[in-house]
């Protein structure tokens, strides 16, 4: 006969143990030269099927450090090998927020002073009250100051097993403080986007306050995601924050994982919180294409856009239009300042309106999932045709053929107040004809712009427009500047007529672009259309008073016919077949071909161009088609790939985006070797620049 049933016995044992067993759980301490380590637990006693948290508490010698789960540029994380009774299991180490320890140019992630690494241990159902539960940990760490010492200790901790429902916990300061430093899961929704050579890590939450957040630093869980030593510029607004991270040169994983450590002011104190980050990485930069692009911020992009716009005035597309406006300003130098100002503003408004429309179209198309680049409108043959007509008509008016009131000739004229409308149109025309040109700085700014939200995109496009309008606007506001120009005289009429010829040349060029886009019939149609426009203009201008209405009608009919014929032939024309020229020095660009050539270890030069891109054509003429450049290509066995963006081509648009660009030209040189980093050449080439960049560059780039 039994005096006690087992359960009753367990109860007494449990009671006895919880009351008297406290000395048993004194954690064993191990001391090395640099670290004092201790095993601690949040349990006084354990029970079958329970879960406990065990902490490895380290007190580290001042100025020395041990490492986090990602040790950074050097070092190795602490590791723990557990020996537990059968059926028990230990989880992964739970790492409190680390700090970045800089040693010269090297960044390490770890802990100084003291740290507690937590591990959750699950106990088996087979434990019986009255047993003991021994925990053994063999701990390896590398502890470093100036030098590194690997150390190993063995720690043991034994906990009593009590009956189910009777285990008791204990609050240990080190474990609590380590818990407070663990990354908080799912507190803030994070997004990670790769663009413009950076990974932008952003969080949106009503908790985020601009005045409270003092600093933030991201620690990636894995090595090889970001450059550990790079600065992480922080932008905080109320409700959102973002950090710009420098990607490591090679692999950017599909998901950005790690910890964001944020210091917040709380009254007079600063509190630190770690947030777990696990965000899919979106954007143009994925694993394959982590090319380091020009890294610019918004202000730089705006400055570049403004500067690019100003330089556009010197480009062959815009110069004639600008000249006409300046001439008319000279002609009316006695005009009142108020009128002059209004003309300047009207012109500027015309330019800006046009650029605003460009931006809106780019946004609309972007919203539809497709991509457009700078000069996209030239990819439409219809647009090219209509612009050819317009330019031709402006040329005719310069030549003096069209001279009716309110006509195109007054694009450059001042009349009464209605002249402002003409100034507006001249601005719009300048903007439209500017698009086939890419000026220095512009590419970078526009590449930045298209990856940005709508307001930034608009701001950058408008900055570009403002740059374009600025020289004329300044002349209107500071007529003093006009004194640097020759005095008005009969030469102006001759110059005006002379400037008709660049207009005709532009029209010829546009027809040539049309030939490539829509074939020979479209060219014929365009030329017939121009004939009709010239005819209509002549009829109208030469008409006597009596037949005025008839002549006007005839002129109108001929203009309408010009449009109808052009539109009819151009609209449905298929692009002429690209015939491959066996002797051509280049092959057509395709991403597959590029990969093939690179896999063969050949150096590759990629030229992305378009027939309507004047800058591109000039570069080919003055640099890429020079004999010494051609022979250098041959000598180095460089494969030359040419991508023609005259029509829309998503493969080329993507290639441009990969390099942070939004328009042609783009010149990229891939040195031999499948993993060689591509080199981006400037947008204005000289033979010297090309030769230097294509590996005839024997001067090493020394960069620190």
């Amino acid at each position: 006969m039994k005096l006690f049933r087992p359960a009753t016995l367990s109860f007494f044992v449990a009671l006895a143990l919880t009351t008297f067993a406290v000395p048993l759980q004194a954690a064993e301490i191990a001391k090395t030269e640099h670290v004092t380590a201790r095993l601690i637990s949040d349990a006084r006693s354990v029970e079958a099927g329970g879960t406990i948290t065990v902490g490895l508490h380290k007190i580290i010698k001042p100025r020395w450090h041990t490492y986090w789960q990602n040790s950074g540029d050097a070092g190795t994380p602490t590791s723990i090998a557990w020996t537990l009774p059968a059926g028990a299991s230990a989880g992964e180490i739970l790492w409190p927020a680390p700090k970045r320890i800089m040693i010269g140019p090297v960044a390490n992630y770890g802990y100084e002073d003291d740290v507690t690494l937590l591990t959750v241990i699950k106990l088996p159902e087979t434990l019986r009250a009255g047993d003991s539960f021994p925990i053994k940990a063999v701990v390896d760490w590398l502890v470093c100051e100036e030098i590194c010492i690997p150390e190993q200790v063995t720690l043991e901790l034994t906990l009593p097993v009590v009956a189910k429902g009777f285990s008791t916990g204990i609050s240990i300061r080190e474990i609590e403080s380590a818990r407070a430093k663990l990354p908080v899961e799912n507190a803030w929704p994070f997004t990670a986007n790769a663009a413009n050579g950076k990974i932008e890590l952003a969080a949106a939450s009503s908790d985020i306050s601009r005045t409270k957040i003092k600093s933030a630093q991201f620690f990636p869980s894995d090595w090889g995601v970001i450059k550990h030593a790079a600065n992480q510029p922080l932008v905080v607004r109320d409700g959102e924050l973002s950090l710009a991270l420098d990607p490591y040169e090679q692999k950017v994983p599909p998901t950005l994982r790690g910890v964001l450590v944020v210091d917040e002011a709380n009254g007079t104190r600063t509190t630190q919180t770690a947030y777990a980050v696990d965000a899919p990485l979106t954007g143009a930069f994925t694993a394959q294409n982590t090319f380091a692009m020009p890294q610019i911020g918004m202000l730089t992009a705006l400055a570049f856009a403004l500067l690019g716009g100003i330089i556009l005035n010197l480009m062959p597309c815009v110069f004639p239009v600008l000249s006409i406006k300046v001439l008319s300003l000279l002609n009316h130098s006695r005009m009142g300042y108020r009128q002059r100002h209004f003309h300047g503003l009207a012109y500027t408004a015309g330019v800006l309106a046009c650029f605003g429309v460009f931006a809106a179209i780019v946004l609309a198309v972007k919203a539809g999932g497709a991509e457009l680049g700078w000069g996209f409108q030239f990819q439409s043959p219809l647009f090219v045709l209509l612009l050819a007509y317009l330019i031709f008509a402006v040329g005719l008016s310069q030549s003096g053929l069209i001279a009716f009131g309110g006509s195109l000739s007054r694009l450059g004229a001042y009349g009464g107040n209605d002249g402002y409308g003409m100034s507006f149109l001249a601005g719009a025309l300048a903007a439209v004809v500017a698009t086939p040109c890419t000026a220095p700085f512009m590419g970078t700014a526009l590449g930045f712009a298209v990856a940005q939200p709508a307001p930034v995109l608009f701001a950058i496009f408008l900055a570009l427009g403002l740059g374009l309008a600025l020289p004329y606007l300044l002349l209107c506001y500071f007529p003093v500047l006009l004194r640097f120009l020759p005095r008005p005289g009969p030469w102006m009429e001759r110059l005006k007529q002379a400037l008709a010829f660049p207009m005709y040349a532009t029209a010829i060029w546009l027809v040539w672009v049309l030939a490539q886009q829509a074939g020979a019939n479209a060219v014929a149609a365009a030329l017939v259309g121009m004939l009709l426009i010239a005819f209509g203009a002549w009829i109208f201008t030469s008409a006597g008073k009596s037949w005025r209405i008839a002549n006007f009608s005839l002129a109108a009919v001929s203009i309408v016919a010009a449009l109808a014929i052009g539109v009819y032939f151009v609209k449905d024309a298929a692009a002429p077949e690209q015939t491959a020229d066996a002797n051509a020095r280049y092959e057509a660009f395709s991403p597959t071909r590029l990969e093939e050539l690179r896999a063969q270890n050949r150096p590759v030069f990629v030229n992305l161009t378009a027939a309507w891109c004047i800058t591109c054509l000039v570069n080919e003429r003055v640099a890429l088609e020079r004999a010494n450049v051609i022979s250098a290509f041959e000598a180095a066995n460089i494969a030359y790939l040419k991508g023609d963006w005259t029509h829309r081509d998503p493969a080329i648009t993507q290639m441009l985006a990969k390099f942070g660009r939004n328009g042609v030209p783009l010149y990229v040189f891939y040195p031999a070797g499948a993993s060689a980093q591509p080199v981006v050449l400037p947008q204005i080439l000289t033979p010297e620049i090309v030769l230097r960049e294509i590996g005839q560059s024997k001067t090493a780039r020394i960069e620190n």
């Binding site: 390490n108 690997p150 560059s697």
Partner: protein, 202 residues
């Protein structure tokens, strides 16, 4: 005037590209001239035509000690130099810091541990180290016969200072040299360098 403006603009565009800390794979390896343990001056360029391995080292660093203690580094050196590869140890520790050695001491150290590098580059001012962006010991670089940098990173695939990692690890220097010999692309041209931090003198 306009020409000058355009040139300036083009230059600015080039300069807008970021500088990277370590040299690029597939580009010419940065050249250096430095004193070696035998007291001579070595110009990297004079080694054109030969494959060159650079091994950043600090004989007291636990990671380095493990690779030498297990004879892993020496056997890799032997295999490489046996094929005509030039193997240069580089010591970037400044005087007074761990790993610093004068020429004779460096030679003696190698004799003691049966190490067979072709030569030891003494870089106490850290110039060569910062030119290559060397961060750890060991930190390995391989330059092909044309002078192109074809590998940078760790000695092998498992970051550890414990010898039990060696049987499972892929030795990247051996892998790179085998790929060059077979005229194939280097399978892992840029890997994680692991080890002790190099303390550059200021």
């Amino acid at each position: 005037m306009i020409k000058k403006l355009i040139a300036t603009a083009a230059l600015t565009t080039i300069l807008a590209l970021p500088a990277t800390a370590s040299p690029d794979i597939g580009r010419e390896a940065p050249n250096f001239t430095a004193r070696t343990a035998d007291g001579k001056m070595l110009d990297l360029k004079s080694l054109r035509g030969k494959i060159v391995v650079l091994e950043w080292t600090n004989h007291d660093c636990p990671y380095v000690k493990m690779h030498y203690g297990a004879n892993n580094m020496q056997s890799t050196q032997k295999a490489a130099t046996g094929q005509g590869v030039v193997w240069l140890q580089v010591i970037s520790s400044p005087q007074g810091k761990q790993g610093f050695l004068e020429g004779p001491a460096a030679i003696k150290k190698n004799e003691e541990r049966n190490a067979v590098p072709t030569n030891v580059v003494l870089d106490p001012d850290g110039k060569v180290g910062s030119l290559y962006g060397a961060q750890t010991t060991p930190h390995m670089y391989v330059i092909d016969a044309k002078g192109t940098l074809v590998y940078k990173g760790g000695i092998d695939s498992i970051p550890s200072y414990r010898a039990d990692s060696l049987p499972k690890a892929v030795n990247y220097v051996r892998e790179t040299l085998a790929a060059i010999a077979a005229n194939k692309p280097v399978p892992n041209p840029s890997t994680r360098a692991y080890g002790c931090t190099i303390h550059y003198g200021s």
